[in-house]
């Protein structure tokens, strides 16, 4: 066992892509955690999708043994955290398990929105913070400017920031020294006290089962120990206690200040709660650790198999994903437009995208996703409360006394030439400006926005109007009562459930018109004319007409045309399988998908 003052628990925080995982690789390599051969890029990113997209989704931890310049051996517990807003609660739990952070800033990019969001979280956790300027090998790196930014914007002393290139390995030794000399050792815990450990994260490993990452505060964690999860109340006998070096390696015990993992025949990740406090079954700690929050999905969408025959496969695939990702929720949903599928909940848009991608890639499923929506809170006239995850389920308006929608506080950070366009975007999305400040050619705007307006295509729009330079971060600030209405889309006078949406009354007409115009383009002409309408209750607010198909015939058709004709029919027959019947109207599934993809206002 290592003496407490020879332990450092730290995390690396950064804006997405600023090089956290690459730095982690270098640190592992430098401290000899892996042989050259075992070393591959971003070793801590183990999921396929993490590797491919180069982003970290799950928190990871690794124990490094480092002999410092003072000649002593230190145990460094490194936490690699997901950088994306969707996973900010996971980040906060990681940070709570450490005493210090390396703040990695890409010296060619400078401070970004998530740099700020993450560093403020670290400051809230009373972290000691060492600024690290990464990518100084790039010609565009501007160390002085970025140091200035760190001082001006964040208010951290950047004079002895460590300058490195995680890619080339330059300055890695300095980082390790800074960890040892500038970050604090964990506070003194008491070995004799009842166990108090924090559940930092959990994931499913095909060999080990559910692996729980823990940080011990007081007491000791040992094999065969009977523990209780204070939040869920479940009790387990510990099978294994270990550390990642970075390969999982068994240890006898984990004492105060130490970070490692346990396994305990826990069936699914969903049985664990991130931020929960682990204690002994018999001898409980008096108080759980602070900061626990239930993780609740904030964005919902319907997922449907393109081929109805894939429904069971989809169900099985979701079950498997859920094994590893407790924050993803689902329940069955039946849609007249799209058939049988599931209503799924996600932590945010990236999370949604990741799950969708994993379903299609890992399970080879062809899916249709409906437009993402948020969770509305409804107060009914009889005083009861309900939550609405699916606009199609909205109760009769006369029974509703109030609808509240989630609002966020968005922090946008941008070169000031794009500011005008960004302000307009926020304004158009019912935003309320809260703050606007400039630091060295960049502007920081803080807006309050309805999440509903953001899940749509806000992020894509923001990226496109700023040519990718603006960065964005948000946090949910609560629900607010708004003048929200359910807008139905009717095709040939039949409402299409998959296209129903809740919108702000003031935005309804615009949205409705847009939807009708789009559907007019997307629905093939049929033998009769088809009205496409957007309606609120019985009132039509936008309308288009798809005129009847009058002519669909090839002028010349002789011997040389038979093949072409046949191939066209084959294609149409295949397309017909993807048609959905709406009363008399046939609508290709692609039309729904395209209508829901609301790019370009």
């Amino acid at each position: 066992m290592t003496a407490r003052d020879h332990i450092r628990n730290f995390s690396i925080i950064a804006h997405i892509d600023h090089g956290k995982s690459t730095l982690a690789d270098r640190l592992i390599q430098k401290t000899g955690g892996l042989t050259e051969r075992e070393m591959r890029e971003q070793v801590l990113d183990s999921m396929d999708i993490e590797k491919e997209r180069g982003i970290t989704i799950k928190a990871q931890t690794v124990r490094l043994k480092y002999t410092a310049q003072d000649g002593e051996e230190y145990i460094l517990n490194l936490m690699d955290t997901p950088g994306h807003v969707d996973f900010s609660y996971e980040v906060s739990r990681c940070l709570a398990a450490c005493e210090g952070s390396l703040l990695v800033v890409d010296a060619s990019q400078g401070v970004e929105a998530q740099t700020l969001a993450n560093v403020y979280q670290a400051i809230d956790q009373d972290h000691e913070i060492v600024p690290v300027l990464n990518k100084i090998d790039l010609p565009a790196a501007d160390v002085d400017r970025v140091k200035e930014q760190i001082e001006d914007i964040i208010g951290l002393d950047a004079s002895d920031a460590v300058e490195i290139s995680a890619k080339t390995g330059l300055g890695i030794e300095d980082v390790l020294e800074a960890v040892v000399t500038r970050l604090p050792a964990p506070p003194e815990g008491e070995r004799e006290k009842p166990l108090k450990a924090s559940l930092v994260d959990a994931y499913y490993d095909p060999y080990l089962g559910v692996v729980v990452i823990v940080r011990v505060i007081d007491g000791v964690l040992k094999k065969k120990q009977k523990v209780r999860m204070m939040r869920t109340g479940a009790t387990y006998e510990i099978d294994k206690v270990g550390v990642f070096s970075p390969k999982p390696t068994d240890v006898d015990e984990l004492g105060p200040g130490e970070v490692g993992f346990i396994t305990a025949s826990i069936k699914e990740v969903a049985d664990t709660a991130i931020g929960d406090t682990i204690t002994e079954e018999k001898r409980q700690t008096d108080k759980p650790l602070p900061g626990y929050k239930d993780v609740v999905p904030v964005v919902f969408c319907g997922l449907f198999p393109v081929d109805a025959g894939d429904f069971d496969d989809l169900r099985a695939a979701m079950g498997k994903l859920r094994l590893n990702d407790a924050s993803f929720t689902w329940e069955m949903e039946t849609s007249a437009a799209l058939g049988m599928g599931f209503r799924c909940g996600f932590l945010g848009l990236l999370h949604l995208e990741i799950i969708q991608e994993r379903l299609s890639r890992e399970f080879d499923l062809d899916l249709i996703a409906t437009a993402p929506s948020v969770v509305y809170e409804l107060t009914m006239t009889d005083g009861t409360e309900m939550q609405l995850h699916n606009p199609a389920d909205m109760p009769d308006v006369v029974k509703i006394s109030e609808i509240r929608e989630p609002w966020i506080k968005a922090t946008i950070y941008t070169p000031d030439e794009y500011l005008g366009a960004i302000l307009k975007l926020c304004q158009d999305r019912r935003g309320i400006q809260k703050e606007l400040s400039y630091v060295g050619g960049r502007a920081m705007v803080v807006y309050e926005l309805p999440l509903n307006e953001v899940v749509f295509d806000f992020y894509d729009r923001l990226k496109s109007i700023s040519r990718g330079y603006a960065s964005f971060d948000y946090e949910i600030i609560g629900h607010r009562a708004e003048n929200l209405v359910k807008m139905n889309i009717l095709v040939n006078d039949e409402p299409v459930d998959a296209l129903a949406m809740l919108v702000h009354r003031d935005r309804a007409e615009g949205r409705g018109r847009q939807m009708c115009e789009r559907l007019k383009e997307l629905i093939p002409r049929q033998m009769f004319k088809i009205p496409v309408q957007a309606a609120i209750g019985g009132k039509v607010i936008a309308r288009e007409t798809i005129s009847a198909l009058r002519k669909d015939v090839t002028a010349k058709c002789y011997g040389g045309d038979a093949t072409r004709k046949r191939k066209l029919l084959d294609k149409q027959a295949a397309g017909k399988k993807r048609m959905r019947q709406f009363g008399k109207v046939e609508i290709p599934q692609e039309a729904f998908v395209a209508a829901l993809r609301m790019d370009g206002d």
């Binding site: 033998m527 009769f528 198909l549 009058r550 002519k551 669909d552 015939v553 090839t554 002028a555 010349k556 058709c557 002789y558 011997g559 040389g560 038979a562 093949t563 004709k565 046949r566 066209l568 029919l569 084959d570 149409q572 027959a573 017909k576």
Partner: protein, 390 residues
């Protein structure tokens, strides 16, 4: 493939020979056929290749096919072939395939029609001409890139009718900006020639043509669907009252015996040998029905079709479903419709709900075991075929 089902298509339903002559005096800007500028090329190698190909293809058929019903010279501009060349081909057909039982059609350009040529064609056994008049208005002919005037066309048709009472006239309508009254006048004038057969096509802008490129640049605006539909309907009225009802979507004849026998083979899923660059064929023999395509480039074709070898670039054995699709798509085009029992033997039972829906919409009719498009349905022939296909 079930042998019984193979009886539903193939030579029992007509057997023809299609000869594709790929050269034209000049290339029309709307044309997407496999065509090349004639220049002053020696025709002999291609004639030889075609003759060789006919013999080779027939040899593959062994004795499964008796003598062909029809021979059709299409293109391209086959009226550019010398009488000697035509004679070589016709003689090869007679020699290798047996004496023809029906028509020999030759597509002809108005400029190639002279009293002498007409006499020579007649002497060779040609029974029917199909003349590419396209329009009677000079400015339209210029727009269409044709090398003849309206008067040239009038003279050519009049002359042709003297030798070949069974002459067909091709016209292209639904040109950009064409009005109903202008077309009515032009069509009436064409009917006044007294030709017993008309092929009337809406101008179709094909992607890989000069017109296609002009349309993509926005320099040519195709007539909209409604305008085309109106003109189609007018065409039907005018032709019907002149005694030339449509017997197929775009083909009109004064009497059943004046319809093109050769083209019926296509619409009826018969067999045909296709020879010449880019020609398609359908040959049913042994245990299957085959789609054949010849090499498109004349040089490739000539190189392939020699020493007793066929000129095919590709052949494809058609599956049951494919045979059914073709029978449906082609068969629906003729006015008398298709034999429903035959279709169902090929594809299995039809979707009765769909059928009822299409009947109710007034697009299809069922009568004495035949399934036919109504006059209204003809404008939506492709749509109806798609609805019925599986």
């Amino acid at each position: 493939m079930d042998y019984h089902r193979l009886d539903e298509v193939g030579p029992g339903h007509g057997f023809g020979i299609y000869v594709h002559w790929p050269y034209c005096a000049r290339i029309c800007p709307y044309c997407d056929f496999n065509v090349y500028a004639a220049k002053d090329r020696d025709e002999t190698p291609l004639i030889e290749a075609i003759c060789n190909d006919i013999a080779a293809q027939k040899a593959i058929l062994l004795r499964s096919h008796s003598a062909p019903d029809t021979l059709y010279f299409g293109g391209g501009t086959p009226s550019l072939i010398s009488p000697a060349g035509l004679s070589r081909i016709i003689a090869t057909v007679a020699d290798r395939c047996g004496a023809l039982r029906g028509e020999i059609t030759l597509e002809a350009n108005p400029n190639d029609i002279t009293p002498q040529r007409l006499a020579e064609w007649k002497a060779l056994g040609v029974t029917r001409l199909s003349i590419g008049v396209q329009s009677l208005e000079d400015d339209t002919l210029a727009f269409l890139g044709r090398d003849h005037s309206g008067d040239d066309a009038r003279r050519a048709v009049a002359l042709a009718l003297e030798t070949f009472p069974n002459t067909s006239v091709d016209l292209i309508y639904a040109r950009p900006g064409q009005t109903l009254s202008a077309w009515e006048k032009e069509l009436t004038a064409a009917l006044d020639f007294g030709a017993p057969h008309l092929s009337l096509y809406e101008l179709t802008i094909e992607e890989r043509t000069a017109f296609g490129r002009r349309a993509a640049r926005g320099e040519l605006v195709p007539m909209d669907e409604d305008g085309q539909a109106d003109l189609y309907e007018l065409t039907q009225q005018v032709c019907e009252s002149a005694g030339l009802p449509a017997y197929e979507i775009s083909n009109h004849a004064r009497a059943p015996e004046l319809q093109s026998q050769h083209n019926q083979i296509y619409w009826n899923s018969g067999d045909w040998i296709g020879v010449g660059p880019g020609a398609h064929g359908r040959l049913t023999y042994g245990t299957g029905r085959n789609a054949t395509v010849c090499h498109r480039r004349p040089a490739d074709y000539i190189a392939a079709a020699c020493h007793g070898r066929v000129g095919w670039a590709e052949t494809e054995r058609l599956g049951e479903a494919e045979i059914g699709q073709e029978f449906l798509a082609m068969g629906l085009r003729v006015a008398k419709g298709l034999d429903m029992a035959r279709l169902e033997r090929l594809t299995g039972p039809l979707d009765t709900a769909r059928l009822a829906q299409l009947e109710e919409a007034g697009l299809l009719s069922r009568d004495k075991g035949r399934l036919a498009l109504t006059p209204q349905g003809r404008l939506l022939a492709d749509h109806v075929a798609a609805q019925l296909s599986k």
